[in-house]
Amino acid sequence: MEPFQTGAFLTAGVLIVAGFWAIIMMDNLLKKVIGANFVGDGVNLVLIGIGYKPGGLIPEVTPHFHASAIPSTFSHFLAFNEFAELASYPLPFALVLTNIVIGASTLSVMLALSVVLYHKYQTLSVQKIFEAMEED
């Protein structure tokens, strides 16, 4: 495993642990939502780190290969096998794109809910909201 990949996994671990800590320990509703965002970010970073290959080609932006390329005629194109050896693994990128969008939509629903809860209780503190729940 490459050192930069290892560093990315360690950073992802810090993000996930910090996010969990915020979700469980923090009293503020918005801090909990920030924590949920960090958990999502950390998982995305793990997925991207899996596909990394040092010095590899970027599969989406570089028109490096042609399905029937012969290296002598198209010297700047690569054959498919060669391209597959050099490029980074693109499947996790597609997964992460989906996950980013899902995470953003979930986050907006949670933020809207916290606005509604604030209007009812005039506070963002989870503890106060739960005490109020015991009364009714």
Partner: protein, 78 residues
């Protein structure tokens, strides 16, 4: 070297955003973290994901947070 510094910045700003008392500062740090994460995605050869993360993570999500904060505390500190 710059990429390793970015990793450190992301980890540090995640912790700072959570420990921070002032919610405005914490949201600004959140946006900063998302943008650094987009740069890391670029170094990890995922440019399309980096573009999406840069738009969503450092513009849309902090914007939503700021709107929420304005609607809840009306600009005053809690």
């Amino acid at each position: 070297m710059f990429d390793y510094i970015l990793l450190f910045v992301v980890a540090l700003s995640a912790i700072m955003a959570i420990v921070q008392e002032n919610l405005y500062k914490s949201i600004v740090i959140l946006g900063f973290e998302s943008f650094s994460l987009a740069a890391i995605y670029h170094f990890l050869l995922a440019t399309d994901v980096a573009a999406t993360q840069a738009i969503l993570g450092s513009a849309l999500i902090p914007g939503l947070f700021i709107v929420t904060l304005y609607k809840t505390t009306k600009g005053r500190d809690e």
